[in-house]
């Protein structure tokens, strides 16, 4: 009889001991991230019936369970992925904006300084010091554009390094999960719940979610299969596929994230990565960086082209026609490396730099038709012939037709910021003067005066012989320059254009025989007329309908706005993540106060069980003493 009590006491002692151990383990892991609290499941020991009475046999520990809610954990995984993506992109954008928007030394300030130096030179066009100052200001502006271009490249390199690290993380976690799957399946097969292994696997999935978004499907054997947001399997049972980075075969400058499935690289589209730091990094790389690069590049191309065009209309200090001020920007374009017909070549030139869009383009040949896609907004233009004139670009293909499905990449302004450079090196090469000058003949008796003389094209610089405008009777005039003659009737204040060289505006009343001479502008080192035209570019609509400074402030607003929105998104996702983690933790986390009360509870049970054994011993002793 007392053996019954003893065995009940023993079972109670063992149960209390197990419960105390479990509580102790919970307390020990109270601060372990990813730890799921455990609780003991106690069931009464199957009783025996003796003489119609059913007697309990004590207690058994049926199981030590993880207190776990699979749905909440999945939700926390998703929230982790989205929050990591937002955080990664926000961090990159915040750094990016700081690199470009310094009001004192940024691109905007150097553009202002360049035009300031131009204005300064209009005061004393012959002063070598003022000319040198303009060259320095222009050089600094170009250097700032170059800096910005190489900073973008640095961001791209840094982004690639981070992506490499992330793929290492993903592969390590995927491998760990696959191995854990194996061990968990094995343990479950032998009927044991491997709580710590399950915790380890959940932690690995959480770490993985920080890098890339996955969804989980639990199998009947306890293993978990992981799928990426695009449906691609990452972990199946004890097998896993590696995530890799590779260059896009259609565009060697683009990096693709993909999965290596049995030796084959399967790329994931940037918008299908879903979440995780990889998603944020890829979005930054494929959207934010190119856009900034294209906007800065467009600014550089518009600026250089506008300044060059006007500069070529002037004469330099030595009376020679002005050349390019900046090295002429070159549009980048190349055929995709995997094209079927490698002979087809593409060439792109700028026809109207004021119309440029801050975007890359792609041409695809399919079904006998060429389709030009503007990548920034997806606008498409089709043509049956291999030539496009679009957005200020002239695009032509040579050695056509390409193979069906061939494509061509056009990056008209991408590298322009990095490549902006001065074409002139000597202060004397600045074309400050106009190439032609007009004067009234001293014998004029009429009251004609010269109001304006504008240069129409670089042809003005090589007038074969000075032009003579002679008035005849009744306000008629004849302009003669070598063999070229042009006649007309004069109206005061009305510009008279000649031979696409110059346009002259006269006022007053002419007398027959009055003469205006228009000739090469020799020795005019103090002439600032071309400089005055150059300074007008500061407020002229040279960048898609707006001025340079307005275009630059739009870039600032864009970069700042992107960074701000990314911060908002980051904060919002962080809030969602906190809520998900709280929900998960409220089920699975350890509460020390709770454990303290359990401790009291099981300690008391233990003491009572011990007391029971003592009682059994006393009973046994009593019985023994009866026999004495």
């Amino acid at each position: 009889m007392s053996t019954g009590i003893l065995s009940i006491g023993n079972s109670a002692l063992a149960a209390a001991y197990t419960a105390l151990r479990t509580t102790g383990n919970n307390i020990a892991n109270a601060n372990t991230p990813g730890y799921t609290r455990q609780s003991v499941v106690l069931v009464p020991q199957q009783g025996t019936s003796s003489g119609g009475i059913f007697l309990g046999q004590g207690v058994v520990v049926a199981d030590v369970q993880r207190v776990y809610n699979a749905f909440l954990t999945q939700q926390a995984n998703q929230a982790t992925a989205l929050s990591s993506a937002a955080e990664a992109r926000s961090a990159q954008l915040s750094q990016l904006q700081n690199a470009f928007a310094d009001p004192a030394s940024g691109i905007g300030a150097t553009i202002d300084q360049f035009f300031g130096a131009l204005q300064e030179l209009t005061q004393r066009p012959s002063d070598p010091a003022a000319r040198q100052a303009l060259l320095s200001a222009a050089g600094q502006m170009a250097a700032r554009f170059n800096d910005a271009g190489s900073r973008v490249q640095e961001f791209r390199n840094d982004n690639e390094r981070q992506l490499q690290l992330e793929t290492v993380n993903v592969n390590r976690a995927a491998q760990e999960i696959a191995q854990l799957n194996d061990r968990i399946a094995l343990a479950l097969g032998s009927g044991v719940a491997p709580n710590d292994l399950l915790d380890q696997r959940d932690a690995a999935i959480r770490r993985l979610s920080e890098s890339i978004q996955v969804s989980t499907v639990t199998q009947s054997d306890g293993s978990v299969n992981l799928f990426l947001a695009n449906g691609q399997a990452l972990v199946v049972g004890d097998q896993f596929n590696r995530v890799l980075l590779a260059t896009d075969p259609a565009d060697p400058q683009t990096l693709q994230v993909g999965v290596n499935v049995s030796g084959q690289f399967r790329p994931i589209q940037p918008d299908q990565i879903g979440g995780g730091r990889i998603a944020g990094l890829v979005q930054f790389r494929s959207e934010d960086l190119p856009r900034l690069e294209n906007e800065l590049g467009r600014l550089a191309v518009s600026l250089a082209s506008a300044v060059n065009a006007q500069h070529r209309l002037g004469n330099d200090r030595n009376g020679n026609p002005g050349g390019d001020f900046f090295t002429p920007p070159v549009a980048d374009a190349y055929p995709a490396p995997n094209n079927g017909n490698a002979a087809t070549q593409i060439s792109v030139s700028f026809t109207d730099p004021t119309q440029l869009q801050a975007s890359d383009y792609r041409i695809r040949f399919s079904g006998g038709q060429y389709t030009l896609t503007r990548l920034a907004d997806g606008a498409q233009f089709t043509s049956a012939t291999p030539a496009f004139t679009q957005d200020g670009l002239s695009i032509t293909l040579a050695n056509t037709p390409p193979a069906d499905g061939d494509s061509f990449v056009i990056q008209p302004v991408r590298g322009a910021s990095r490549d902006l450079a001065l074409a002139i090196t000597q202060p004397s090469e600045i074309a400050a003067a106009a190439p032609v000058a007009a004067s009234l003949q001293l014998t004029n008796t009429g009251s004609i005066t010269i109001d304006d003389l504008s240069v129409l094209s670089p042809r003005a610089a090589n007038l074969s012989s000075p032009a003579t405008l002679t008035f005849g009777a009744g306000n008629t005039y004849t302009i003669t320059s070598g063999a070229v003659t042009q006649s007309g009737t004069y109206t005061a204040g009305q510009p008279i254009s000649f031979d696409n060289r110059f346009s002259i505006t006269l006022r007053g009343a002419p007398q027959a025989g009055d003469v205006v001479n228009i000739g090469p502008n020799t020795g005019a080192i103090g002439d600032n007329r071309n400089l005055l035209k150059l300074t007008q570019l500061q407020n002229a609509a040279v960048v898609d309908g707006v001025s340079l400074s307005a275009a630059f402030s739009t870039v600032v607003a864009r970069v700042g706005g992107d960074a701000q929105l990314a911060q908002f998104a980051d904060n919002a996702q962080r809030g969602i993540l906190d809520a998900a983690l709280n929900a998960e933790s409220s089920v699975s986390g350890v509460n020390l106060d709770e454990e303290a009360s359990r401790l009291i509870q099981y300690q008391q049970q233990y003491q009572a069980a011990a007391r029971l054994i003592a009682a059994a011993k006393e009973i046994f002793d009593d019985i023994l003493s009866l026999g004495r």
């Binding site: 109270a30 991230p33 904006q97 300030a109 300031g116 007398q511 103090g526 600032n528 407020n539 960074a563």
Partner: protein, 399 residues
């Protein structure tokens, strides 16, 4: 009721405290830097507006520089033209004295020498330097002094390029006046035509510079006036049309035709000839040279005196035209300066306005920022105090 896990409690508390702390730091950074926008993301539109305003201010600064340079040049030009006008006035006075018909050859020589020295002074003034390495009246050819003198012949090597500067957005002010415009483009005679006596004249007839009576009838043609002993025959050179006039009483004949009028005083001899030429441009230097040449002509007979007096009369009229022209140029310089006054005012007003707007966008409102800092300080204190006091509670303390 939601269970609260201990780990969650600590993490949440820690996160809340660090969030409050970073808010507090942001407020403190605003106050210490004085800048409301530390990065464009703080206010993208504000940052962009700030960039545009800064570009505007930089341009206004440049306009200010141009304005002061314009003023510098215009003041010098004004001064030089004023001095030149005084010299021309002195030359006119000399010419008036010289035109007295009773002067001897010797007396005229003295006048000639005086005029030569005045001419040299005029050339000197017209070659005035601009104070920055160039010349005020050379146009764009500032490498060398624009006026050269050889004997009494003055040549101009400058050009007609009038330097302008942008002194306000798209507003240009002429800051340099060329020698061509100021000294060369003057009309001789009465401004419309010049009169002269033929060198072969033997009578004492002196033709005056004449004048315009009806501008609408002017033909722009040259004329010859021949005295055939009984009457004056005027021939219009362009088509040969002739007008005849009888000599007037008292030795004064007024000839009026084609909207103009000239007067011949004295007694011309038969076959004496006078000419009328439409006025082209004649520099004041050339006028002076003509007068000097006339004064140096010897001969005290009545006919010679008459020819000299005709020339001097024409020269005085030409100098008067030149003086009028100089007054006009001074007025133009003055107008440029007056225009500058307006633009300087406009520029300063706009600069003030831009600075104000920039400050409103980028600078911290200190009162607001300070109260914000205090508010965040209170929140932060509440967070750390509540966290530390609650985290001290544990059931284990009571076991």
């Amino acid at each position: 009721m939601q269970r609260v896990s201990t780990l969650m409690y600590y993490t949440a508390g820690e996160r809340a405290i660090s969030a409050r702390q970073s808010e507090l730091l942001a407020a403190q950074a605003q106050l210490s830097s004085g800048r409301r926008i530390a990065a464009p993301s703080d206010d993208p539109i504000g940052a962009a507006t700030g960039t545009a305003l800064r570009a505007g201010i930089s341009q206004l600064d440049q306009f200010k520089g141009n304005q002061s340079h314009a003023r510098f040049l215009l003041n010098q030009s004004e001064n030089s033209v004023a001095q030149f006008t005084n010299t021309a006035q002195a030359a006119r006075d000399q010419l008036l004295g010289a035109a007295n018909g009773t002067n001897s050859d010797q007396e005229r020589q003295i006048f000639a020498r005086d005029l030569e020295s005045l001419l040299a002074q005029m050339v000197g003034l017209a070659n005035a330097a601009d104070g920055i390495g160039g010349f005020l009246f050379a146009g764009a050819r500032e490498a060398a002094a624009p006026f050269g003198q050889s004997g009494s012949v003055v040549s101009y090597s400058g050009d007609a390029n009038e330097q302008r500067l942008e002194v306000s957005n798209n507003r240009y002010v002429q800051v340099k006046f060329t020698g061509d415009d100021v000294f060369l483009k003057t009309r001789p005679g009465n401004g419309t035509f010049t009169t002269a006596a033929a060198a072969t004249n033997t009578g004492t007839g002196v033709i005056d510079p004449g004048g315009v009576t009806d501008p609408s009838q002017l033909t722009g043609s040259a004329y010859t006036i021949d005295f055939d002993g009984t009457q004056f025959v005027v021939t219009r050179a362009s088509d040969g049309t002739q007008f005849t006039f009888a000599p007037g009483s008292g030795g004064t004949t007024a000839l009026q035709f084609d909207g103009l009028r000239v007067t011949v005083n004295g007694a011309p001899a038969a076959a004496d000839r006078f000419t009328i030429q439409p006025a082209g441009y004649q520099s004041i230097f050339d006028t002076m040279a003509q007068a000097i040449a006339a004064l140096k002509t010897t001969g005290t007979d009545a006919a010679a005196r008459a020819r000299i007096n005709t020339t001097l009369g024409g020269a005085i009229a030409s100098v008067d035209q030149a003086l009028d022209h100089l007054v006009l140029k001074r007025a133009q310089i003055g107008a440029s300066l007056a225009e500058l006054d307006g633009y300087e005012q406009l520029n300063d007003d706009r600069n003030l306005e831009y600075q104000g707007r920039l400050s409103a966008i980028e600078d911290v409102d200190f009162a607001q920022a300070a109260s914000e800092l205090t508010r965040r300080q209170t929140t932060f204190e509440a967070a750390i105090k509540s966290y530390s006091s609650i985290s001290r509670l544990s059931l284990f303390d009571f076991l």
